[in-house]
Symmetry: C2
DNA sequence: ATACCTGCAAAGGTTTTGCACATAC
DNA sequence: GTATGTGCAAAACCTTTGCAGGTAT
């Protein structure tokens, strides 16, 4: 987080309050918010901030390698400040999106190369199921 | 394919020429076309068909379980009439999307349950790399 | 001081919807 | 004959862009 100042300076980017707040919010949450959700979450503290600024900022953060983009099958993108390659899981009842922590599937890239002629470099893995809370409510 | 008539009848849906052509086209191709690509591909034979009909039809086909939707990280969806759960691979150079055939990763669902409290039912796996043709062109 | 950034509004792209006409059954 | 589907245009989304004014450095 302290490296932010240095990184932004290096790229001749300005570390504005909006950019700082958006990154801090993404770092603080595991909810994988969409642009709209970020915008709503920061509205109390940044009532004049526009949705366009959210979009511009997340794109800047992606270019800097500080944030990654997800698409779990919705009509919009979600964002994650955990840039380690990790799988996600989506609740098919309530729609929440969680990280699958400590599960590393990097070896799948090599496995896939046995089935294709592609040189495989990365992957995005999305699992779908019912979260603990929704399991309880279904009983 | 012959079951189409029966399935549509059962659901009180009409098997129109447009619907038949869209499904046949999706069955015939491995290119994972978007709605726009389907629309363009069928334009020679169905010059009066509208893009709205393509969207309505693919949604009908999805509800029938005849087609699945993909999002490889583009701003639109692609469609696949191979409804077996299979991984996809995207060329990061040319954007083509291929099936990864014969690679079954159903066991990952159970593996993931060791890392979460979700009941896992399905998954979508997207791999990214460079396709054979683009590998040659890079040399 | 100045290059970069924000906020607004407009535009662009994808997908959905409403409705009159058409058509599969 | 009638319920369902098509095609068109408009609308509803999500996201990007252009630009004038603002701000971090």
């Amino acid at each position: 987080m302290e490296n932010l100042t240095a990184l932004f300076k290096e790229k001749n980017l300005k570390l504005t309050p909006q950019r700082y707040a958006i990154y801090k919010y993404l770092k603080s949450t595991k909810s994988h918010p969409s642009a709209e959700m970020i915008y709503e979450a920061l509205k109390p503290d940044f009532p004049t901030m526009s949705l366009a600024t959210v979009y511009k900022t997340v794109n800047t953060l992606i270019e800097l390698g500080l944030v990654q983009e997800l698409n779990v099958g919705e009509d919009n993108f979600r964002f994650d400040a955990n840039v380690e390659n990790h799988p996600h899981i989506v609740c098919t009842k309530c729609g929440r999106v969680d990280d699958i922590e400590d599960a590393v599937f990097e070896h799948l890239n090599k496995e896939v190369e046995n089935y294709t002629s592609y040189k495989v470099s990365t992957h995005k893995l999305y699992f779908y199921g019912v979260c603990p809370k929704c399991q309880k409510e279904l009983q």
